[in-house]
């Protein structure tokens, strides 16, 4: 398949998923409300209590992880449940579909993460950031990694529905190293102004992203045909 065509098709899949999620002009408000809601939960449950920085980092990522959870599964499961996956299979090859959905998950999660973090910083007392760039880098890498993991897990779950395998359960632990690393990076960002301070974490995150995507690329082709 020609390079241009490939990009074009990936974009098409992405556009389809986006407009299916953002069916109405209010849908964005729904996303915004979603972040506000998840955030308020923290606020309400902690009232006035003050918590140490690394806890803040942890909480922030619990929220982001939840956001990923509620978005991820739908990408593939709906296609399976409604039998539209066959239509896709008759229209293109596996790769652009996977990357289209990956792109969708990544951007959706990036948007959520951004709004979430900004709000968090605004309203949560004691969430002070020393190294802004460290934070941005960490958030970006972490989100991309998380979205990648979510996407392939979602694909696995979708299949598991049809066959009741244990694949998903086995695949869960793979998000842990990512989260733990990114939390450490975030904590660093809150205590240490220098960007380089978390360079070790960056490297881990980067390699994680590379590995998970390479693996997904291979695995997904198997899931796709059968």
């Amino acid at each position: 398949m020609s390079g241009r065509g490939f990009i074009g098709i990936t974009a098409a899949v992405f556009r389809k998923d986006t407009s299916s999620e953002l069916r109405t002009r209010y849908a964005l408000n729904a996303l915004f409300l979603f972040t506000v809601t998840t955030l308020s939960i923290i606020l309400f449950s902690f009232q006035s209590a003050t918590v140490p920085t690394q806890v803040h980092a942890g909480l922030l990522w619990v929220l982001i992880f939840f956001a990923a959870m509620s978005g991820l599964s739908r990408a593939f499961i709906t296609e399976e449940d409604r039998g539209t996956i066959l239509l896709l299979k008759l229209s293109t090859i596996s790769t652009p579909v996977f990357y289209g959905k990956l792109l969708f998950n990544v951007l959706l999660l990036l948007a959520l993460t951004t709004v979430l973090t900004v709000l968090y910083a605004l309203v949560v007392p004691g969430f002070a950031v020393e190294g802004l760039w460290t934070l941005c880098t960490a958030l970006f890498l972490g989100t991309v990694g998380l979205a990648s993991a979510s996407t392939i897990i979602g694909a696995l779950i979708a299949k598991a529905n049809a066959r009741g395998t244990l694949y998903p359960v086995l695949s869960f632990p793979i998000v842990l190293p990512l989260l733990l690393t990114v939390i450490r990076a975030t904590t660093t960002a809150m205590e240490n102004p220098s960007w380089g301070a978390a360079s070790g974490e960056y490297r881990v995150l980067l390699s994680y992203i590379v590995v998970i995507n390479a693996a997904s690329y291979l695995v997904f082709d198997f899931i796709w045909k059968d």
Binding site: M1, G5, G8, I9, A11, A12, V13, R15, K16, S19, S20, R23, R82, G83, T84, L86, L87, L88, K89, L90, S91, T92, I93, P96, K225, D226
Partner: protein, 216 residues
């Protein structure tokens, strides 16, 4: 449309070690039509899925020759259009959106005018801006025809083509069948004699899982 031929060699499909059919072979060339008949559960849809490479056969091969050069399995879909009960369209989109979305995903480049023409061909013109969720069974079936027909595929696979269609819809289906047989190939999986009669050759599946009759 390319000059395309497809041939199946000794196809066999087992589901958890129970054979559904075996030894199914046929050759189809431009202008040829094949009917796959057999009782419920004899493997008609399974065979069609295999031909469309939606399923991989337990043994045997499906090969496609476009303008003299073989088409790799993962790209066969480009020359195939399919209409089937288990093939679903996107309910949250309108008829028009479904066409444009699938067209773009196919890497096609049709214009809005083309979409309109397709939809009025299946007489959904008036409903093109309605969500498919609100469509009646027959209207969904018509939309599937529009989708399958859009790329003018060399090979048209029809599984139970009359399902949900009213008299006018069936007429539409038949004219479409005639157009297609002129330049391409058609395979129909059906329970109805009428469908078998309009096809030049037939395979009937079932009866202890071995295919009776042969390709053209």
């Amino acid at each position: 449309m390319h000059n395309i031929a497809i041939s199946a060699r000794d196809l066999r499909k087992d589901f958890n070690r129970m054979p559904v059919f075996s030894g199914v072979s046929f050759d189809l060339g431009r202008g040829e039509t094949l009917a796959v008949s057999g009782r419920n559960g004899s493997g008609k849809s399974t065979l069609l899925k295999i031909v469309a490479s939606l399923l991989s056969p337990t043994s045997g091969t499906v090969s496609m020759i476009a303008d003299g050069s073989p088409v790799p399995g993962r790209f066969m879909f480009r020359h195939i259009g399919m209409v089937a009960p288990y093939l679903q369209v996107y309910e949250e989109f309108t008829a028009l959106e479904n066409l444009s979305i699938i067209d773009r995903i196919r890497g096609g480049s049709h214009t809005a005018a083309d979409y309109e023409r397709l939809l009025s061909m299946v007489s959904l013109g008036k409903r093109k801006h309605d969500h498919v969720r609100t469509f009646s069974s027959g209207m969904k079936q018509r939309l599937k025809y529009a989708l399958a027909w859009m790329e003018r595929p060399a090979l048209l696979l029809l599984d139970e083509p009359r399902t949900n269609l009213d008299a006018e819809g069936i007429a539409m289906m038949l004219t479409l069948f005639e157009d297609q047989r002129r330049e391409g190939m058609v395979i129909i999986a059906t329970n109805e004699q009428e469908d078998v009669d309009i096809c030049a050759s037939r395979i009937s599946l079932g009866y202890d899982g071995a295919a009776k009759g042969g390709g053209s």
